[in-house]
Protein backbone atom coordinates (compact mmCIF):
# COMPACT_ATOMS: atom_id res chain seq x y z
CA UNK A 1 0.00 0.00 0.00
CA UNK A 2 2.39 2.73 -1.15
CA UNK A 3 -0.36 5.33 -1.34
CA UNK A 4 -1.42 4.64 2.23
CA UNK A 5 2.19 5.01 3.31
CA UNK A 6 2.47 8.35 1.48
CA UNK A 7 -0.68 9.62 3.15
CA UNK A 8 0.41 8.48 6.58
CA UNK A 9 4.10 9.26 6.65
CA UNK A 10 4.61 12.39 4.51
CA UNK A 11 3.19 14.55 7.33
CA UNK A 12 5.49 12.79 9.82
CA UNK A 13 8.48 13.59 7.60
CA UNK A 14 7.36 17.22 7.28
CA UNK A 15 7.03 17.48 11.06
CA UNK A 16 10.45 15.88 11.54
CA UNK A 17 11.87 18.49 9.19
CA UNK A 18 10.18 21.20 11.24
CA UNK A 19 11.55 19.77 14.52
CA UNK A 20 15.10 19.52 13.15
CA UNK A 21 15.04 23.04 11.76
CA UNK A 22 13.57 24.42 15.01
CA UNK A 23 16.38 22.80 17.03
CA UNK A 24 19.02 23.96 14.52
CA UNK A 25 17.60 27.49 14.53
CA UNK A 26 17.85 27.68 18.31
CA UNK A 27 21.44 26.44 18.34
CA UNK A 28 22.63 28.68 15.52
CA UNK A 29 20.74 31.77 16.67
CA UNK A 30 22.08 31.60 20.20
CA UNK A 31 25.59 31.04 18.81
CA UNK A 32 25.28 34.07 16.51
CA UNK A 33 23.47 36.40 18.89
CA UNK A 34 25.06 35.34 22.15
CA UNK A 35 27.56 37.51 23.96
CA UNK A 36 31.15 36.62 23.17
CA UNK A 37 33.41 36.84 26.18
CA UNK A 38 36.93 35.81 27.03
CA UNK A 39 37.31 32.45 28.63
CA UNK A 40 39.33 31.71 31.73
CA UNK A 41 40.41 28.52 33.52
CA UNK A 42 37.69 28.80 36.16
CA UNK A 43 34.96 29.14 33.53
CA UNK A 44 36.38 26.23 31.58
CA UNK A 45 36.40 23.81 34.50
CA UNK A 46 33.54 21.52 35.55
CA UNK A 47 31.04 22.81 38.09
CA UNK A 48 32.43 21.83 41.46
CA UNK A 49 31.50 24.29 44.24
CA UNK A 50 34.93 25.91 44.19
CA UNK A 51 37.12 22.82 44.36
CA UNK A 52 39.66 22.11 41.63
CA UNK A 53 38.64 18.81 39.98
CA UNK A 54 41.56 16.43 39.61
CA UNK A 55 40.18 13.57 37.53
CA UNK A 56 37.71 12.86 34.78
CA UNK A 57 34.18 11.96 35.83
CA UNK A 58 33.88 9.12 33.35
CA UNK A 59 34.58 6.51 35.93
CA UNK A 60 32.83 3.25 36.69
CA UNK A 61 29.34 3.49 38.08
CA UNK A 62 27.16 0.92 39.81
CA UNK A 63 26.50 -2.29 37.88
CA UNK A 64 22.83 -2.01 38.87
CA UNK A 65 22.25 0.50 36.09
CA UNK A 66 23.41 -2.09 33.53
CA UNK A 67 21.16 -4.72 35.11
CA UNK A 68 18.17 -2.40 34.88
CA UNK A 69 19.00 -1.68 31.23
CA UNK A 70 19.13 -5.39 30.42
CA UNK A 71 15.87 -6.11 32.25
CA UNK A 72 14.29 -3.21 30.39
CA UNK A 73 15.13 -4.78 27.04
CA UNK A 74 13.60 -8.12 28.13
CA UNK A 75 10.41 -6.71 29.59
CA UNK A 76 9.86 -4.00 27.00
CA UNK A 77 10.04 -6.52 24.18
CA UNK A 78 7.46 -8.57 26.04
CA UNK A 79 5.24 -5.51 26.30
CA UNK A 80 5.57 -4.99 22.55
CA UNK A 81 4.52 -8.63 22.03
CA UNK A 82 1.34 -7.86 23.97
CA UNK A 83 0.20 -5.15 21.52
CA UNK A 84 -0.58 -7.24 18.42
CA UNK A 85 -2.31 -9.73 20.69
CA UNK A 86 -4.36 -6.96 22.36
CA UNK A 87 -5.55 -5.65 18.99
CA UNK A 88 -6.69 -9.13 17.93
CA UNK A 89 -7.81 -10.16 21.43
CA UNK A 90 -11.55 -10.38 20.74
CA UNK A 91 -11.06 -12.24 17.46
CA UNK A 92 -8.71 -14.80 19.00
CA UNK A 93 -11.18 -15.77 21.71
CA UNK A 94 -10.55 -18.05 24.68
CA UNK A 95 -7.67 -19.94 23.06
CA UNK A 96 -5.70 -16.76 22.42
CA UNK A 97 -6.35 -15.62 25.97
CA UNK A 98 -5.14 -18.94 27.41
CA UNK A 99 -1.97 -18.76 25.31
CA UNK A 100 -1.28 -15.25 26.54
CA UNK A 101 -1.83 -16.42 30.13
CA UNK A 102 0.91 -19.03 29.59
CA UNK A 103 3.18 -16.32 28.16
CA UNK A 104 2.45 -14.00 31.08
CA UNK A 105 3.00 -16.91 33.50
CA UNK A 106 6.50 -17.44 32.10
CA UNK A 107 7.07 -13.69 32.30
CA UNK A 108 5.98 -13.63 35.96
CA UNK A 109 8.29 -16.56 36.80
CA UNK A 110 11.19 -14.66 35.23
CA UNK A 111 10.21 -11.51 37.11
CA UNK A 112 10.00 -13.45 40.40
CA UNK A 113 13.49 -14.91 39.76
CA UNK A 114 14.87 -11.42 39.14
CA UNK A 115 13.33 -10.15 42.39
CA UNK A 116 14.58 -13.15 44.41
CA UNK A 117 18.09 -12.78 42.97
CA UNK A 118 18.07 -9.23 44.31
CA UNK A 119 18.80 -7.75 40.88
CA UNK A 120 16.48 -4.87 41.67
CA UNK A 121 17.58 -4.28 45.28
CA UNK A 122 19.16 -0.86 45.29
CA UNK A 123 20.04 -0.70 48.98
CA UNK A 124 21.59 -4.16 49.53
CA UNK A 125 25.09 -3.14 48.40
CA UNK A 126 25.15 -0.50 51.11
CA UNK A 127 24.24 -3.06 53.76
CA UNK A 128 26.90 -5.35 52.36
CA UNK A 129 29.69 -2.78 52.59
CA UNK A 130 28.61 -1.84 56.10
CA UNK A 131 28.80 -5.45 57.21
CA UNK A 132 32.19 -5.88 55.58
CA UNK A 133 33.70 -2.80 57.16
CA UNK A 134 32.39 -3.69 60.62
Amino acid sequence: MPEQAINDYIPVLLLTGFAVSFAAFNLVASWLLGKKALTNPAKDSPFECGMVPFHTERRRFSVRFYVVAMLFILFDIEVVFLYPWAVKFQALGAFGFAEMLVFLGVLIIGWWYVIKKGALDWSSSRRHTLRRSA
Binding site: E3, N7, D8, Y9, I10, P11, V12, L14, L15, F18, A19, V20, F22, A23, A24, N26, L27, A29, S30, L33, G34, K35, K36, K43, S45, P46, F47, E48, P53, T56, E57, R58, F61, R64, F65, V68, A69, F72, F75, D76, V79, V80, L82, Y83, A86, V87, F89, Q90, A91, F97, M100, L101, L104, L107, I108, W111, I115, L120, D121, W122
Partner: protein, 354 residues
Protein backbone atom coordinates in the same frame (compact mmCIF):
# COMPACT_ATOMS: atom_id res chain seq x y z
CA UNK B 1 -16.39 9.91 9.37
CA UNK B 2 -18.34 8.74 6.33
CA UNK B 3 -16.97 11.50 4.12
CA UNK B 4 -13.93 10.74 1.99
CA UNK B 5 -10.70 11.88 3.62
CA UNK B 6 -8.34 14.06 1.61
CA UNK B 7 -5.48 11.99 0.15
CA UNK B 8 -2.22 12.79 -1.59
CA UNK B 9 -3.38 11.25 -4.89
CA UNK B 10 -6.56 13.38 -5.04
CA UNK B 11 -4.87 16.73 -4.96
CA UNK B 12 -1.15 16.76 -4.04
CA UNK B 13 -0.85 20.53 -3.71
CA UNK B 14 -3.91 20.97 -1.51
CA UNK B 15 -2.82 17.92 0.51
CA UNK B 16 0.67 19.31 1.15
CA UNK B 17 -0.69 22.78 1.90
CA UNK B 18 -3.24 21.42 4.36
CA UNK B 19 -0.61 19.31 6.11
CA UNK B 20 1.91 22.14 6.31
CA UNK B 21 -0.79 24.40 7.71
CA UNK B 22 -1.71 21.79 10.32
CA UNK B 23 1.95 21.31 11.32
CA UNK B 24 2.59 25.03 11.64
CA UNK B 25 -0.63 25.70 13.57
CA UNK B 26 -0.41 22.76 15.98
CA UNK B 27 3.31 23.01 16.73
CA UNK B 28 2.94 26.72 17.39
CA UNK B 29 -0.05 26.18 19.66
CA UNK B 30 1.92 23.57 21.59
CA UNK B 31 5.14 25.58 21.75
CA UNK B 32 3.29 28.68 22.93
CA UNK B 33 1.39 26.58 25.46
CA UNK B 34 4.63 25.09 26.76
CA UNK B 35 6.14 28.57 27.04
CA UNK B 36 3.04 29.68 28.92
CA UNK B 37 3.16 26.61 31.15
CA UNK B 38 6.62 27.71 32.32
CA UNK B 39 4.94 30.94 33.38
CA UNK B 40 1.99 29.00 34.82
CA UNK B 41 4.43 26.89 36.78
CA UNK B 42 5.89 30.01 38.40
CA UNK B 43 2.51 31.65 38.90
CA UNK B 44 0.89 28.57 40.43
CA UNK B 45 3.96 27.95 42.61
CA UNK B 46 3.71 31.54 43.80
CA UNK B 47 -0.01 31.15 44.47
CA UNK B 48 0.53 27.95 46.43
CA UNK B 49 3.31 29.56 48.48
CA UNK B 50 1.39 32.83 49.03
CA UNK B 51 3.74 34.94 46.86
CA UNK B 52 3.03 37.10 43.82
CA UNK B 53 5.18 35.42 41.19
CA UNK B 54 6.36 37.15 37.99
CA UNK B 55 4.17 40.23 37.45
CA UNK B 56 6.42 42.91 35.88
CA UNK B 57 6.60 41.99 32.16
CA UNK B 58 3.29 42.71 30.49
CA UNK B 59 -0.10 42.55 32.21
CA UNK B 60 0.15 40.05 35.08
CA UNK B 61 3.54 38.86 33.82
CA UNK B 62 2.07 37.31 30.65
CA UNK B 63 5.06 38.35 28.50
CA UNK B 64 7.61 36.83 30.89
CA UNK B 65 8.27 33.76 28.63
CA UNK B 66 8.96 36.03 25.63
CA UNK B 67 11.36 38.13 27.69
CA UNK B 68 13.07 34.98 28.97
CA UNK B 69 13.46 33.59 25.45
CA UNK B 70 14.99 36.85 24.17
CA UNK B 71 17.37 36.93 27.09
CA UNK B 72 18.41 33.31 26.49
CA UNK B 73 19.34 34.15 22.89
CA UNK B 74 21.61 37.00 23.93
CA UNK B 75 23.37 35.19 26.76
CA UNK B 76 26.91 33.92 26.35
CA UNK B 77 26.92 30.45 24.83
CA UNK B 78 29.56 28.77 27.00
CA UNK B 79 31.12 25.52 25.77
CA UNK B 80 33.42 24.54 28.64
CA UNK B 81 36.85 23.15 27.78
CA UNK B 82 36.38 19.73 29.36
CA UNK B 83 33.28 18.64 27.43
CA UNK B 84 32.85 16.35 24.42
CA UNK B 85 32.01 19.17 21.99
CA UNK B 86 29.93 17.37 19.34
CA UNK B 87 27.70 15.51 21.81
CA UNK B 88 27.51 18.52 24.09
CA UNK B 89 26.05 20.65 21.29
CA UNK B 90 23.80 17.90 19.88
CA UNK B 91 22.32 16.76 23.21
CA UNK B 92 19.82 19.64 23.69
CA UNK B 93 18.61 19.18 20.10
CA UNK B 94 18.17 15.44 20.66
CA UNK B 95 16.23 16.15 23.85
CA UNK B 96 13.94 18.62 22.10
CA UNK B 97 13.15 16.92 18.76
CA UNK B 98 11.37 13.70 19.88
CA UNK B 99 8.88 15.67 21.99
CA UNK B 100 7.95 17.71 18.89
CA UNK B 101 7.78 14.72 16.52
CA UNK B 102 5.36 12.86 18.83
CA UNK B 103 2.86 15.67 18.26
CA UNK B 104 2.23 14.10 14.84
CA UNK B 105 -0.16 11.44 16.12
CA UNK B 106 -2.05 13.43 18.77
CA UNK B 107 -5.66 13.97 17.59
CA UNK B 108 -6.62 17.53 18.49
CA UNK B 109 -10.25 17.45 17.40
CA UNK B 110 -12.88 15.92 15.11
CA UNK B 111 -12.24 16.22 11.33
CA UNK B 112 -12.58 19.68 9.80
CA UNK B 113 -14.25 20.32 6.45
CA UNK B 114 -12.50 22.87 4.23
CA UNK B 115 -13.51 23.54 0.58
CA UNK B 116 -15.54 20.32 0.55
CA UNK B 117 -12.59 18.19 1.68
CA UNK B 118 -12.46 16.41 5.03
CA UNK B 119 -9.20 17.07 6.85
CA UNK B 120 -8.53 15.06 10.02
CA UNK B 121 -7.37 17.29 12.89
CA UNK B 122 -4.32 15.13 13.48
CA UNK B 123 -1.05 15.62 11.62
CA UNK B 124 -0.65 11.90 10.77
CA UNK B 125 -3.41 9.46 11.69
CA UNK B 126 -1.08 6.43 11.85
CA UNK B 127 -2.48 2.93 12.28
CA UNK B 128 0.34 2.18 14.75
CA UNK B 129 -0.64 5.28 16.80
CA UNK B 130 0.42 4.52 20.36
CA UNK B 131 3.48 2.49 19.30
CA UNK B 132 4.73 5.53 17.38
CA UNK B 133 4.33 7.60 20.55
CA UNK B 134 6.31 5.15 22.67
CA UNK B 135 8.97 4.61 19.99
CA UNK B 136 9.68 8.29 19.43
CA UNK B 137 9.19 9.65 22.95
CA UNK B 138 11.66 7.10 24.32
CA UNK B 139 14.35 8.65 22.09
CA UNK B 140 14.20 11.66 24.42
CA UNK B 141 16.24 9.75 26.99
CA UNK B 142 19.23 9.91 24.61
CA UNK B 143 19.31 13.68 24.87
CA UNK B 144 19.44 13.59 28.65
CA UNK B 145 21.96 10.75 28.92
CA UNK B 146 24.23 12.27 26.26
CA UNK B 147 24.02 15.65 28.01
CA UNK B 148 25.15 14.00 31.24
CA UNK B 149 27.92 12.07 29.52
CA UNK B 150 29.20 14.85 27.28
CA UNK B 151 29.40 17.32 30.16
CA UNK B 152 32.20 15.26 31.73
CA UNK B 153 31.36 16.60 35.16
CA UNK B 154 30.20 14.97 38.38
CA UNK B 155 26.60 16.13 38.76
CA UNK B 156 25.50 15.89 35.12
CA UNK B 157 27.01 12.40 34.95
CA UNK B 158 24.99 11.24 37.97
CA UNK B 159 21.86 12.90 36.61
CA UNK B 160 22.29 11.27 33.21
CA UNK B 161 22.82 7.79 34.66
CA UNK B 162 19.81 8.18 36.92
CA UNK B 163 17.67 9.45 34.05
CA UNK B 164 18.53 6.44 31.89
CA UNK B 165 17.56 3.92 34.57
CA UNK B 166 14.43 5.80 35.58
CA UNK B 167 13.05 6.53 32.13
CA UNK B 168 13.59 3.06 30.71
CA UNK B 169 12.11 1.43 33.82
CA UNK B 170 8.91 3.45 33.68
CA UNK B 171 8.58 2.95 29.96
CA UNK B 172 7.78 -0.70 30.65
CA UNK B 173 4.98 0.31 33.04
CA UNK B 174 3.75 2.95 30.59
CA UNK B 175 3.46 0.36 27.82
CA UNK B 176 1.93 -2.33 30.03
CA UNK B 177 -0.68 -0.09 31.62
CA UNK B 178 -2.48 0.82 28.40
CA UNK B 179 -2.66 -2.69 26.87
CA UNK B 180 -6.15 -3.10 28.38
CA UNK B 181 -7.44 -0.11 26.40
CA UNK B 182 -6.36 -1.59 23.09
CA UNK B 183 -7.93 -4.92 23.99
CA UNK B 184 -11.32 -3.20 24.05
CA UNK B 185 -10.79 -0.80 21.11
CA UNK B 186 -9.08 -3.41 18.87
CA UNK B 187 -7.10 -0.65 17.18
CA UNK B 188 -3.89 1.20 18.00
CA UNK B 189 -5.06 4.27 16.07
CA UNK B 190 -5.59 7.10 18.54
CA UNK B 191 -8.63 8.54 16.71
CA UNK B 192 -10.32 5.12 17.04
CA UNK B 193 -9.58 5.18 20.77
CA UNK B 194 -11.36 8.54 21.01
CA UNK B 195 -14.39 7.65 18.87
CA UNK B 196 -14.92 4.51 20.93
CA UNK B 197 -14.94 6.67 24.07
CA UNK B 198 -17.25 9.31 22.58
CA UNK B 199 -19.97 6.68 22.14
CA UNK B 200 -19.00 4.61 25.18
CA UNK B 201 -17.53 5.41 28.59
CA UNK B 202 -14.22 7.14 29.19
CA UNK B 203 -11.39 4.70 29.90
CA UNK B 204 -10.71 6.60 33.11
CA UNK B 205 -13.81 4.85 34.49
CA UNK B 206 -13.56 1.47 32.76
CA UNK B 207 -9.75 1.19 33.22
CA UNK B 208 -9.11 2.94 36.58
CA UNK B 209 -6.02 0.85 37.43
CA UNK B 210 -4.45 1.60 34.06
CA UNK B 211 -5.25 5.29 34.55
CA UNK B 212 -3.42 5.49 37.88
CA UNK B 213 -0.36 3.56 36.61
CA UNK B 214 -0.22 5.65 33.43
CA UNK B 215 -0.33 8.92 35.37
CA UNK B 216 2.45 7.78 37.74
CA UNK B 217 4.58 6.61 34.82
CA UNK B 218 3.94 9.88 32.97
CA UNK B 219 5.37 11.81 35.93
CA UNK B 220 8.44 9.55 35.95
CA UNK B 221 8.92 9.77 32.15
CA UNK B 222 8.88 13.57 32.15
CA UNK B 223 11.24 13.74 35.19
CA UNK B 224 8.75 15.74 37.22
CA UNK B 225 8.43 15.80 40.97
CA UNK B 226 7.98 13.47 42.87
CA UNK B 227 10.33 11.66 40.41
CA UNK B 228 12.69 14.45 39.36
CA UNK B 229 15.83 12.58 40.48
CA UNK B 230 17.85 13.33 37.29
CA UNK B 231 17.74 17.03 38.15
CA UNK B 232 17.25 16.94 41.91
CA UNK B 233 18.36 20.44 42.93
CA UNK B 234 19.21 19.52 46.51
CA UNK B 235 21.55 16.68 45.52
CA UNK B 236 22.80 17.29 41.97
CA UNK B 237 22.85 21.11 41.59
CA UNK B 238 20.79 20.97 38.36
CA UNK B 239 21.45 17.41 37.22
CA UNK B 240 22.14 16.75 33.56
CA UNK B 241 22.02 20.41 32.47
CA UNK B 242 24.38 21.81 35.12
CA UNK B 243 27.08 22.65 32.54
CA UNK B 244 24.69 24.20 30.01
CA UNK B 245 24.00 27.87 29.43
CA UNK B 246 22.10 30.20 27.11
CA UNK B 247 19.66 28.72 24.57
CA UNK B 248 21.01 25.19 25.00
CA UNK B 249 19.82 25.30 28.60
CA UNK B 250 16.44 26.61 27.46
CA UNK B 251 16.10 23.84 24.87
CA UNK B 252 16.07 21.24 27.64
CA UNK B 253 13.19 23.16 29.18
CA UNK B 254 11.27 23.50 25.92
CA UNK B 255 11.72 19.75 25.45
CA UNK B 256 10.61 18.99 28.99
CA UNK B 257 7.51 21.16 28.87
CA UNK B 258 6.57 19.92 25.40
CA UNK B 259 6.90 16.37 26.72
CA UNK B 260 4.64 17.36 29.61
CA UNK B 261 2.09 18.61 27.09
CA UNK B 262 2.42 15.39 25.09
CA UNK B 263 1.73 13.28 28.16
CA UNK B 264 -1.19 15.52 29.17
CA UNK B 265 -2.58 15.06 25.67
CA UNK B 266 -2.07 11.29 25.90
CA UNK B 267 -3.93 11.17 29.21
CA UNK B 268 -6.72 13.18 27.60
CA UNK B 269 -6.81 10.94 24.50
CA UNK B 270 -6.49 7.58 26.22
CA UNK B 271 -8.44 8.13 29.42
CA UNK B 272 -10.47 11.34 29.30
CA UNK B 273 -12.18 10.85 25.96
CA UNK B 274 -9.98 13.20 23.88
CA UNK B 275 -12.31 15.74 22.28
CA UNK B 276 -15.40 14.16 23.86
CA UNK B 277 -17.91 16.28 25.74
CA UNK B 278 -20.18 14.31 28.12
CA UNK B 279 -23.61 13.45 26.63
CA UNK B 280 -22.45 14.01 23.04
CA UNK B 281 -22.14 11.19 20.52
CA UNK B 282 -20.07 10.90 17.32
CA UNK B 283 -23.23 11.68 15.34
CA UNK B 284 -23.72 14.92 17.32
CA UNK B 285 -20.19 16.05 16.48
CA UNK B 286 -20.74 15.24 12.81
CA UNK B 287 -24.11 17.02 12.75
CA UNK B 288 -22.54 20.19 14.15
CA UNK B 289 -19.95 20.20 11.33
CA UNK B 290 -17.11 22.64 11.82
CA UNK B 291 -18.68 23.98 15.04
CA UNK B 292 -18.39 20.43 16.37
CA UNK B 293 -14.68 20.53 15.46
CA UNK B 294 -14.26 23.80 17.35
CA UNK B 295 -16.11 22.45 20.41
CA UNK B 296 -14.04 19.25 20.36
CA UNK B 297 -10.85 21.28 19.98
CA UNK B 298 -11.71 23.40 23.02
CA UNK B 299 -12.74 20.36 25.06
CA UNK B 300 -9.43 18.64 24.25
CA UNK B 301 -7.32 21.63 25.24
CA UNK B 302 -9.32 22.19 28.46
CA UNK B 303 -8.47 18.58 29.45
CA UNK B 304 -4.79 19.07 28.55
CA UNK B 305 -4.54 22.29 30.54
CA UNK B 306 -6.29 20.69 33.52
CA UNK B 307 -3.73 17.90 33.50
CA UNK B 308 -0.86 20.38 33.12
CA UNK B 309 -2.21 22.13 36.21
CA UNK B 310 -2.27 18.75 37.96
CA UNK B 311 1.44 18.35 37.10
CA UNK B 312 2.24 21.63 38.85
CA UNK B 313 -0.12 20.93 41.75
CA UNK B 314 1.59 17.59 42.46
CA UNK B 315 4.99 19.29 42.33
CA UNK B 316 4.14 21.39 45.39
CA UNK B 317 2.30 18.61 47.21
CA UNK B 318 4.47 15.48 47.21
CA UNK B 319 8.15 15.30 48.29
CA UNK B 320 10.82 13.65 46.15
CA UNK B 321 11.25 9.86 46.22
CA UNK B 322 14.59 8.24 47.00
CA UNK B 323 16.12 6.39 44.05
CA UNK B 324 15.65 2.89 45.51
CA UNK B 325 12.04 3.75 46.39
CA UNK B 326 11.48 4.91 42.82
CA UNK B 327 12.85 1.68 41.37
CA UNK B 328 10.95 -0.50 43.87
CA UNK B 329 7.70 1.29 43.11
CA UNK B 330 8.15 0.73 39.40
CA UNK B 331 9.43 -2.84 39.21
CA UNK B 332 7.94 -4.41 42.33
CA UNK B 333 4.58 -2.64 42.65
CA UNK B 334 3.37 -1.12 39.38
CA UNK B 335 4.61 -3.87 37.08
CA UNK B 336 2.65 -6.77 38.71
CA UNK B 337 -0.42 -4.54 39.09
CA UNK B 338 -0.26 -3.66 35.39
CA UNK B 339 0.01 -7.34 34.44
CA UNK B 340 -2.95 -8.21 36.68
CA UNK B 341 -4.87 -5.40 34.99
CA UNK B 342 -4.22 -6.93 31.56
CA UNK B 343 -5.47 -10.34 32.75
CA UNK B 344 -8.50 -8.78 34.51
CA UNK B 345 -9.43 -6.85 31.38
CA UNK B 346 -9.16 -10.07 29.37
CA UNK B 347 -11.43 -11.94 31.81
CA UNK B 348 -14.04 -9.17 31.91
CA UNK B 349 -14.05 -8.63 28.14
CA UNK B 350 -14.27 -12.38 27.50
CA UNK B 351 -17.10 -12.70 29.98
CA UNK B 352 -19.02 -9.76 28.45
CA UNK B 353 -18.35 -11.03 24.93
CA UNK B 354 -19.58 -14.59 25.45
Amino acid sequence: MSLAVLTFADDPIFYLAANLAKIVVFTHIVLILSALSVLAERKVSAWMQDRLGPNRVGPGGILQPAADALKFFFKEDIVPGHVDKVLYILAPAIALMPALIVLAVIPYGPPLTVLGETIPMVIADLDIGILFVFAISSLGVYGIVLAGWASNSKYPMLGGVRASAQMISYEVMLGLSVVGIFMSTESLRLTDVITSQVDGTWFMFSQPIAFIIFVIAAFAETNRLPFDLPEAETELVAGYHTEYSSMKFAMFFIGEYTAMFVFSALVAVLFLGGWDIPFMSNADFEALGNWGTLLGFLSFFVKCLAFLFFYIWVRWTIPRFRFDQLMNLGWKVLMPIALVNVVLTGVVLGWLGS
